[in-house]
């Protein structure tokens, strides 16, 4: 039987890692991710897992050790946040370029400067173009389940790309929630044995990892990564369906919450989706037709499916918790792209909110919905919660 445990988002991820029992976990502490590595280190010390935990001197080394371990044929995982991900940067691209199925939990935190430890999505959005699959989680339960799903998706032979699983720093990572932890045996069976593609430790079949392909072959390798992302788009659903059989929950590219007859919809990532649902429930009681589109899979981005989900909506607000400074914000940019081929499409309002952990309240969301329902949509970005 699944067990209900009181866990924070970080602890829930550590619980998933315990069940996955990876071969190697190199990690370096950084707020608000620290509790993942710390909780997992206890599992290692207590002998609950067989993992070789490597206490590295930086995140650049953490990802380097993941790359080395994964190329050798090990199942490797790590976790980070903000500046840690930024320091890792060079090797983040190496992991995907070498097609190593590493799974990394990113607990979203604002990038410096100015230094700030609270939630926004500038860290993971900064590396959305580095050929990692990106899955965003609303709460601890999703972070737990997405981590399990991520291992299978990364290791699929037609994918072989690393996966990043996100959750909101502090809001999710440090809040205690009821988390349904599934049976160890079921997860073990779901995850299965890792069969690496040409590992370095297979000394009978030696291979070269990381050669120097210049004008002659680099382009072809990037084309293969594009192909792998296209495969991931379909395989995400297949693996999600398999996981559904255990959890009885759905893993579609996004969650549509009361959008069927909705006139106004909010599109958002991570924990703010939860706040939005609470507002929708209240406004629906007043007969207001409002809904939510919560994006789960950000890379590869499900353009066609998003277009289909939004085509009959009149007004939609896209809420970004990061900006692209001088260009459209990341989520808004993708949603707008999705709608290009439609003849009838919703009017869009881009909103930026919550940078550096600035709170977004139910009242803020209700006001936004009310504006949308009145058709109050502008091509100027709305900054929710900013001291103007």
């Amino acid at each position: 039987m699944p067990e209900i445990k009181a866990l924070t988002g970080d602890q829930a991820v550590a619980e998933a890692m315990k069940q996955i029992n990876p071969d190697v976990v190199p990690a370096y502490p950084i707020t608000p991710q620290t509790e993942i590595a710390m909780t997992f280190a206890k599992f290692v010390a207590d002998g609950d897992v067989d993992t070789e935990m490597i206490r590295v001197e930086s995140e650049h080394s953490a990802m380097s050790a993941c790359v080395g371990a994964s190329a050798a044929g090990a199942r490797a995982m790590t976790a980070t946040s903000s500046a840690g991900l930024a320091l890792m940067w060079e090797i983040v691209g190496v992991a995907s370029g070498l097609r190593l199925p590493i799974v990394m939990n990113v607990v979203n935190r604002a990038l410096s400067a100015p230094i700030n430890i609270h939630c926004d999505h500038s860290d993971s959005m900064g590396c959305r173009d580095l050929s990692w699959i990106q899955i965003y989680s609303e709460d601890a339960q999703e972070a737990y389940e997405h981590t399990i799903l991520a291992v299978r998706l990364a290791e699929n032979k037609k994918v072989l790309l690393p996966v990043m699983v996100m959750q909101d720093g502090f809001i999710t990572s440090h809040s205690l929630e009821n988390v349904e932890v599934l049976e160890d045996s079921k997860i073990k069976k779901f995850i299965g044995e890792y069969k690496p593609h040409k590992p370095l430790l297979d000394i009978k079949n030696p291979v070269t990892y990381g050669p120097l392909p210049l004008q002659n072959a680099y382009f072809e390798m990037k084309r293969q990564q594009i192909d792998a992302m296209e495969n991931a788009h379909k395989i995400f659903l297949d693996i999600g369906e398999e996981l559904s059989k255990i959890t009885k929950r759905k893993y579609y590219y996004f969650e549509e919450y009361k959008t069927k007859d909705a006139k106004a919809v909010i599109v958002v990532l991570n924990s703010t989706a939860g706040t939005t649902k609470a507002v929708i429930d209240r406004m629906r009681q007043e007969g207001k037709k409002v809904g939510l589109l919560k994006i789960r899979l950000f890379r590869p981005f499900p353009y066609k499916e998003v277009a289909n989900a939004l085509k009959d909506i009149k007004f939609a607000a896209v809420l970004d918790r990061s900006d692209s400074f001088g260009a459209n914000a990341p989520l808004y940019s993708e949603i707008k792209n999705s709608l290009y081929d439609l003849t009838k499409r919703p009017k869009l309002q881009n909103c930026i909110f919550g940078l550096g952990g600035r709170d977004i309240s139910e009242d803020d969301i209700e006001k936004l919905f009310s504006d949308l329902l009145k058709g109050n949509v502008s091509d100027k970005v709305k900054f929710i919660g900013l001291n103007e």
Binding site: R99, H197, K198, V207, L212, E220, M221
Partner: protein, 90 residues
């Protein structure tokens, strides 16, 4: 032969020791000319060559492998009997 991206292994994986086929010697603009008669087989150049392209056998220094020598000139600089000269490649 140009290979399609569909035929190539992923992540740039190639057979082991594939660098032997990559003749980096074509990069050099100066090449070392060694007078083996003057050479005292001290092996200082052999251990200092960054490309590991100065072979030796049975205590004798052999001719530099110009397929891999990039012409850095370290061997000429450190040779105690000055038996290596750098000549411009034509």
């Amino acid at each position: 032969m140009k290979k399609s991206w569909k035929e190539m292994d992923i992540g740039g994986l190639t057979e082991a020791a594939s660098s032997l086929k990559f003749k980096t010697g074509s990069w050099k603009s100066f090449k070392p000319i060694t007078d083996l008669k003057k050479c005292i087989n001290c092996m200082i150049c052999v251990v200092n060559c960054p490309e590991d392209c100065i072979p030796s056998k049975d205590g004798k220094r052999k001719d530099t492998d110009l397929d891999f020598c990039k012409g850095c000139g370290i061997c000429a600089k450190i040779c105690p009997v000055k038996c290596i000269k750098m000549e411009e490649e034509q």
